[in-house]
Amino acid sequence: MARHRKIQGEEIARNLNRRQLIELEACARCGECTNWCPVYAQDKRECISARGKLAMLRSMLDGSLTAEERTEFLQGLYQCSACGQCHIVCPVRINTPELWEQARYALVSAGIPQPEGQVKQLTTIKGFNNSYGKPQEERGLWAKNAWDAGFLKSLVPLWSERPSSVLYFAGCTASFDPAMQFVAVQTARLLQEAGVEFSILGSDEPCCIGKLRRMGDPAFTEEAQNRARQFDNSGVRTIIVSCAGCYKGLHSDYHSLWPGAQKVLHVTQLYEQLLHDGLLRVQQEVPLVVTYHDPCHLGRHNRIYDPPRNVLQAVPALKLVEMARHRAFSACCGMGGGLKAANPELQHKVSASRIREAEATGAQAVVTPCQTCYLGLLHGVEETSSSLKVYHLNEMLIRSVCPEVSREAIDAAFSGDQVKLK
């Protein structure tokens, strides 16, 4: 048995980077990571902390992890949003989020699968090319519906019919989730207001498959290469995304596989530029006090801290206040890394803690530029029965640029329903 465990350990080690193998033994056990981990704050087991995971993975590699510890380790590894907070505070500079993702990949490659909830989600993504398990034909419908309802200045062209210099990649959530389609509609309208020429892929838009990498699915590399080829063959140069998860996927995860990844922009970067150039004009006052939630995938993982803040500050009468934890120390909403799929209740608690922090600022609303964080924060609001409002950053800009395209108006036109949690 011990020998079998050792052989499996070697198999895992072969799929980790050399530097990561060294990192496992470099931990000074200072516990700074335990001070900051948003999940450890809810579940104080050692296996949840970076310190615990490093030690347990090390034991797993040399075959000395007991069966009981192994179960704990797997819980710790997958009930982690790979938010990267431990990376920022670690005095040894251990690149933890990369390590967690690579460890998941190495474990799966050695025949140790992800938790059931994650396997299910991955199967859906690979089977349907979207995380909602819906037919791809429905992907671009939001654009047609928005045009029919009068929210757009013109019908957004499909890339196959009229390619342009910019591709708007709406992503699965804004395309398929009726409660989130307003993000895609508002992005399209704001780009139109600024005179940006762009197209969408419609039913040809693939899932960015960032989630495959998050959860260590070995199919990631090949699938990513397929998508890169698709973009190259279509002549795509610049890609705009309105979701932090898609940004992390297409920009960071594809980085080593595809030179085009450099040309992926988050919509807040573009808005900042458009506002600066006077192409996007804010007019109406938005007299709100808001606090900004940095998505981990934009902030810590990609250092996009300032553009969203600059956009918010450009909105007349809007006041931005910061939470105790912001920028590099922003506490995760718990949606990343497959945590939600592995343990939904835990995600709710993590998010509730973030909502309490947002409430403490005295702000009326928390704003985020990511549809995944948006949904995650809503769970926190529900958990805490908070009266705090959650807004996508688009909504703040829309109120100032063209208030008639509000979320409420879009929701009403699309379904007549209120925003519902899935």
Partner: protein
């Protein structure tokens, strides 16, 4: 400078075994790491910044400074104290044989005027280490911050280093008590460990040999323990910092946070 019996033969045999064991352990570790996927080290054009980061994070431990002044002080004392003493031991290791061969400048450090410099050096770094370990002990056993790990390895290392440092100072005190006058002013800490004048010279000599043996063999035990201890971080943390700085040298949110911009209220002071 006094001469007294030291079980050299036994010591050298043990040293060869201990060192051999440590080297073999590192070799095995190296083999383990080599199984992993090769990774580039993209350092071109960034060497200066990487070196700067390394100096700040390893030698000055700026990141701990950013987290807590107290923890920074404790660890800086331990780190520099240990490094200073390790350097002294290493120098002794290489210069002793030269001294035996009668090479003049080596002799200078052991019997000549340089011996006093050696004493001040040893006492200063020893004091830093001892102070650091006492403060670490206060933090660990009295202040007990929640973040602190309390596995055996967390406690053993501090205890082991404390034992080693303390036995070193007792050895120094005994040596001074048997030295013919004048030297003790340079061993400004060691002399505080001089035993009270109730022992005979014979007793002191026996205690000296015993303490020397305890100290010397404990030092060898540290070599054996090192690959299994959390002391691995003192070798690997500098390696990881250098390697990761090659990819992240431009991350001002990681390496040179503008405190006003990035500081958050969470870290505990202890």
């Amino acid at each position: 400078m006094i001469e007294y019996f030291k079980p050299w033969l036994l010591f050298w045999l043990a040293a060869i075994v201990a060192h051999g064991y440590m080297d073999y352990s590192f070799y095995r570790k190296w083999q383990g790491w080599a199984q992993g996927i090769r990774q580039p080290f993209p350092h071109k054009g960034k060497q200066r910044r990487i070196v700067k980061i390394w100096l700040a994070e390893v030698l000055l431990q700026r990141q701990l400074f950013g987290l807590s002044l107290f923890r920074w002080l404790v660890h800086l004392l331990i780190f520099w104290g240990f490094a200073g003493l390790a350097l002294l031991s290493l120098t002794t290791f290489f210069l002793r044989p030269l001294d035996f061969l009668g090479i003049g400048w080596a002799h200078y450090f052991f019997s000549g005027k340089g011996y006093l410099f050696t004493k001040v050096w040893g006492d200063s770094f020893g004091l830093a280490l001892l102070l650091g370990l006492v403060l670490a002990g206060i933090r660990r056993f009295i202040l007990k911050p929640a973040q602190q790990g309390n596995k055996q390895m967390d406690i053993y290392l501090v205890a082991f280093l404390f034992w080693l440092t303390l036995s070193g100072f007792f050895l120094e005190g005994l040596r001074l008590s048997l030295s013919p006058g004048g030297m003790d002013s340079y061993s400004f800490i060691g002399r505080l460990f001089m035993p009270a004048g109730i022992f005979t010279v014979e007793q002191l000599k026996f205690m000296l040999v015993a303490t020397w043996s305890i100290h010397a063999f404990s030092a060898l035990a540290l070599l054996v323990y090192l690959p299994h201890s959390k002391m691995m971080h003192s070798i690997l943390a500098p390696v990881v910092i250098a390697l990761n700085a090659s990819e992240e040298s431009e991350r001002e949110d990681l390496y040179w946070p503008d405190i006003g911009k990035y500081k958050a209220k969470k870290s505990r002071e202890t």
